[in-house]
């Protein structure tokens, strides 16, 4: 059975720990806690992850203290949270509470074991199928479980916190333990990425959307960093013009029109690094393909179009995933080349989306999301020449972009870069300038993709993202 994890934003996790900190500071042994709302991520109909969509912070009178300082949530507080679950069609509720004397290991008490089944029974009477998850917090450990029914509970493997870092904390009640040493192949990377971070990378699935110049390099870097499972998504086949930049692509692949994703699978798996590549031949615009991202723990965007970027942003805020977008751009004027930039953007809960950063523009998004005949009519009118410019296909530039993307992932797993990571990190090869863009160029505090996303953390409880296959096919240009 696949491990079940609990996903939460870094900001919520930090605030929750802060909210509960007095529990471990005073001598009164008072329990602290809060209730959260749960979304979920499923693979083939089976729940893979629970997502904390929102924490409903307690107000005065919401948390009642029982004899022996045990905590009970008031029925008013429970109702308020449950009402939100019902109106938003979410998966259920999660309760967090502390055990003040648990300085090292922590576990559910007999009182918890008695109360949780009663609560889930109550919730399921009101709305059948509602899940109840509970997490008990010790000073340096936590234990979690989910109740499918009053008689069936399932332990939760890890708490995944996504924000300025990507942290995996065990929910088995025991304090974090040192990770096993990696195989000697990865020994010399330990100076940058410790064994704990390497172990996380080895156990996770990383999706790479786009298997062309930058995407193929990204897969190579992931495999050589110790990632054991890469999901590659691309709908295109290899052409002769791609041979200057796609790793492992051959003239024969171009002749036989082999899909880029499958060529990459063949190449990466032949390295002998134990990295499995799942090749998906399809466009990420298609909601059937987008749905396959439910297997992913991290997403790399290596595409040169705005529409897939915008949809990926929408997806990652709904599923609380980290998304690293990498790309390269060459700018010029009559005098010649003025910039040759590589760029990395990090999109995650609490950070700005690519529309707010100004990378995705309303005009380009409109152009790309017209059907092919309508786009041709638009081109015929003129005024679209700038939208037809192709991104550079220069392997050296792609390499720099992919390299910066990989460094960012290493940093998320084990921070070593200066914080906060900028909105955009751009490297101009012409001027030797590394530019950290600190503020979003098109900031919108009401943005319905990032700041004001109505389905934030809903996961699969929210609306599917992407287009019906026939619409996605109608948008695919002949490039």
């Amino acid at each position: 059975m696949q491990e079940l994890n609990l996903r939460i934003t870094g900001a919520d996790w930090e605030r929750l720990r802060k909210h509960c900190a007095p529990s471990f500071r005073t001598r009164r042994d008072t329990e602290y806690g809060a209730i959260g709302l749960l979304g979920k991520r499923c693979v083939n109909g089976t729940i893979r992850e629970l997502i904390v969509s929102e924490i409903v912070w307690p107000e005065a009178g919401d948390v009642l203290s029982q004899p022996h300082h045990a905590l009970t949530f008031s029925s008013r507080y429970m109702r308020r949270a449950h009402m939100k679950v019902r109106t938003r069609k979410l998966a259920g509720l999660i309760t967090f509470h502390t055990h003040p004397r648990a300085n090292e290991a922590v576990s559910f008490s007999g009182y918890d074991d008695e109360q949780d089944p009663l609560l889930v029974e109550n919730l399921q009477e009101l709305s059948p199928g509602t899940l109840l998850s509970s997490v008990v917090l010790g000073k340096g450990s936590q234990q979690g479980r989910v109740w499918i029914s009053p008689h069936k509970q399932v332990p939760i493997g890890n708490l995944v916190s996504v924000g300025s870092a990507l942290r995996y904390l065990p929910l088995d009640g025991r304090p974090s333990r040192p990770a096993p040493a990696p195989s000697e192949i990865f020994d010399r990377a330990l100076a940058l990425t410790g064994s704990g971070a390497l172990a996380v990378l080895a156990q996770r699935t990383v999706a790479v959307v786009g298997a062309s110049g930058t995407g193929s390099l990204m897969c190579e870097l992931l495999a050589r960093a110790g990632c054991k499972r890469v999901l590659v998504i691309d709908h295109e086949v290899v052409k002769l013009v791609n041979l200057n930049r796609i790793l492992y692509a051959t003239a024969e692949d171009a002749e036989l029109l082999r899909p880029k994703a499958e060529v990459l699978k063949r190449g990466i798996e032949s390295l002998g690094l134990g990295c499995e590549v799942i090749a998906i031949v399809g466009t990420i615009l298609d909601n059937d393909v987008m749905r396959l991202l439910s297997q992913a723990d991290v997403v790399f965007g290596c595409v040169d179009k705005d529409y897939p970027r915008a949809l990926l942003c929408k997806y990652v805020y709904q599923h609380l995933l980290p998304y690293i977008d990498v790309g390269a751009e060459i700018g010029g004027d009559e005098e010649g080349i003025v910039s040759a930039d590589t760029r990395v953007n990090y999109v995650a809960p609490g950070r700005w989306c690519l529309r707010c950063t100004g990378l995705v523009t309303a005009r380009r998004l409109a152009f790309e999301s017209l059907t092919t005949p309508e786009r041709k009519r638009k081109i015929a009118l003129g005024y679209s020449d700038d939208l037809l410019l192709k991104q550079p296909a220069v392997m050296d530039l792609n390499m720099s972009a992919a390299s910066n993307g990989m460094m960012l992932l290493r940093h998320l797993l084990q921070p070593f870069l200066l914080e906060p990571f900028p909105v955009t990190l751009a490297q101009n090869q012409v001027t030797y300038n590394l530019k950290a863009v600190a503020s979003p160029r098109a900031r919108n505090d009401a943005c319905d993709i990032c700041r004001n996303n109505a389905q934030y953390g809903f996961g699969d409880c929210g609306k599917p993202i992407g287009l019906p296959p026939e619409v996605a096919a109608a948008l695919r240009s002949e490039d």
Partner: protein, 136 residues
């Protein structure tokens, strides 16, 4: 459904009395707008129908641009030089693309613009601004 926001805007416009309908040509959504007033002369009638393409990513925040004019039409007993695009056939009628764009300094703005304001922008073509453009 990808264009729920567009649908909601169109429903709201329709309920406020604008002659407007969301249609699809293949899978490409369009808005048909009726009752677009024009001064006659120089136009050959007082009311026109126009067709506006809606990008399928409209709900993600796209700009709108240009429109199609139902054929036949006459402007100053001839053709308007900005009605110069390709023709699309829809409902047994030909519609020609009009090169009517937002100026560089005044682009479609996501925070304030929508289908309603784009219709207003398109109406400008039939008024003084469009007539001036026909001469230049």
């Amino acid at each position: 459904m990808q264009i729920e926001k567009a649908k909601a805007e169109i429903d709201q416009l329709a309920s406020a009395g604008t002659v407007v309908e969301l249609v699809t040509l293949g899978v490409q959504p369009f808005v048909v707008v009726g009752g677009v007033e024009a001064p006659c002369p120089p136009w050959d009638r007082k009311v026109y129908e126009i067709l506006i393409a809606i990008p399928v990513a409209y709900d993600l925040g796209t700009a709108l641009d240009g429109f199609y004019l139902a054929l036949p039409y006459k402007f100053q007993d001839g053709e308007h030089n900005r009605v110069n695009g390709q023709v699309v056939s829809f409902r047994n009628q030909d519609w020609k693309a009009v090169s009517w764009h937002y100026p560089d300094g005044k682009p479609f703005r996501l925070e304030v613009d929508n289908i309603e304001s784009h219709i207003v922008h398109c109406r400008g073509f039939f008024l003084q601004r469009g007539a001036v453009n026909a001469r230049t």
